[in-house]
Symmetry: D2
Subunit: 138 residues, 4 copies
C-alpha cells in the first residue's frame, strides 16, 4: 500500500465547477509514477533506456463524490491481480477525512520495447510489486 | 449512431510516444459534447442556465492499438442502457481504415443543479437520445 | 495565412467558467500542427523519422475576451519574423463574428535531432513557410 | 518569494519526449494557486463565494532547457509590477541543482465577479502580495 498526496488544481476542473472525470485517471497515473519511483522504477528512465514498457490496456473508474479546486486528496494504491505478463493497480481517492470520493483501476501489460510483443513480467518488477509496496513508507 | 472525427494532437501524447491513456477519455468526451450539441443539448448552455446536469459516475476503456501524433480517428457513439435517471454511452475509436483501436463507456446520471439530487431523465433528453441519434447525419 | 476552426471543449475550461489560459496556447499549437500538415510537414513523422525538430523557445499571449464551452473559434496563423535558425508564428483567436478574443505568438528554433544543436532552417521548410502559406485554402 | 516544488509527470510531456510548452504555463499556475493559498487566498473559495476574480490578461514564457519525465523542479515566484487593478507574477523554473530551465510571467487583473468590470486591487490582497510573500516559509 502506498499513498500519494496531492490537491485539485484549477486546470483539473471544468466549467461545471468540479474535477473533470478524465483527470481522475490522470491523478491516478501521477500516483502510479510516484509509487513506481519509490519501488525503484523511474518511468522516465524506463522510457529512455529501458527494455520494456508497461502500457495500460484497460482502465475504469467510479466517481462517488464531487471534488473542487483546492480540495486535498490522498490516492491509496493497492496491487490487484498479477498475471504472467500483466498486473492490476487499484486506487482509492480519499479526502483528508478518510471519505472515499472515487476509485480507479488500471491494467498494465509488459511489452518488449523493440518488438512491441507481450513479455513475461520481469522478475525484478514482480518482486518489487509483491513485496516492496508493503514496506514503503506512506 | 453518431461519428465524431478528429486527429491525435501532440499534447494528447506523452514521452512514451503514444496517446496518453486518460486522453482517450477526453476525446470520447469531445465526441459526447458534439453529439449532444447535434441533439439540441449544448453543454455550455446547460451549465450556464439549465436546471439539470449529467455528471459521469462511471467510465471504463480498453486500449487495443497504439495511436500516434497526426493519426486521424473517428469516434462512433452508440446509446447503451437507459435507466430511470441514468444512461450509458458507448464509444468505438476507429482508424480511417475501420480498425478499432479502443473503446470507451461513460455512465451519466441526471441530477438537479440546485439540490444535487438524482432526478428522472428529462423526457426531452430521453426522446432525443432514443430517437434523435438515429436520424443524425454522420 | 491559414485558419484552423475548432470549438471550446469542456476540458478546455476551468471552475471559473471560462477557457483556462494555458489552453489558449494548446489550441494555438493544434492550429500549428494542422497548418504544418497542410504545408507537407507532419509533426508525427518529423518526430518519428525526421532529422530535425522545432521546439518552442518563447511563447506569449494576450487574453482579451472570455471564451466559454461550445464557443466556436477560428485561429488565424500568420508568419512573423524568419531568422537563420528560427521563425515566429502569430495566431489571432477569432469568434465567428470576426471579434478577436485573444492572440498568441510562438518562436520556434530548428535543432538537429541527434546533436540538439541549432541548425540553419532547412530550405524546404523556409520555402513552405514563406510561400506555401499564401496559397493554402482556408 | 515563494518556492513550489513538483516533478514532471508523464502527461506533462509529449511524443517529442519533453515537457509540452503549454504545460509550463500550467505548472506556473499550480505554483500560483499554492502561493495564493499560503497568502490566505484560496482560489476555490474565491470562485465559489468571493466578490472578485483575477483572470490572466497576458502571459509569456521562455524555454531554456529541456525537462523530462521525473525531473524535479522548483518554481520560484516573485512579485512584479503592481498597478491600480493589476499585478504581475514572475516565475523561475529551476532544477534541484539551481539551473534555470524556464521562466514564466502572468499579468492578472482584478474584476468584479458580477459586473465583470475592472476594480481596484482589494487592499487585503495588495498587502498580502507586497508583504506576505516576504515572510512565507519556502
Amino acid at each position: 500500500m502506498y499513498i500519494y498526496h496531492t490537491s485539485i488544481k484549477l486546470h483539473d476542473t471544468d466549467a461545471a465547477g468540479l474535477l473533470f472525470f478524465a483527470n481522475q485517471f490522470k491523478l491516478a497515473h501521477d500516483a502510479y509514477e510516484t509509487f513506481f519511483n519509490a519501488l525503484g522504477f523511474n518511468l522516465g528512465k524506463m522510457i529512455q533506456s529501458g527494455t520494456f514498457v508497461l502500457p495500460i490496456v484497460h482502465a475504469d473508474a467510479d466517481f462517488t463524490a464531487p471534488l473542487f479546486v483546492g480540495d486535498r486528496v490522498g490516492i491509496r494504491i493497492h496491487l490487484g491481480k498479477v498475471g504472467r505478463s500483466s498486473f492490476t493497480l487499484l486506487y482509492d481517492i480519499l479526502r483528508e477525512t478518510g471519505e472515499t470520493v472515487g476509485r480507479v483501476k488500471t491494467v498494465h501489460v509488459a511489452i518488449d520495447k523493440q518488438t512491441r510483443e507481450k513479455i513475461e513480467l520481469p522478475e525484478r518488477l514482480k518482486m518489487a510489486l509483491m513485496t516492496g509496496g508493503e514496506s514503503l513508507p506512506e
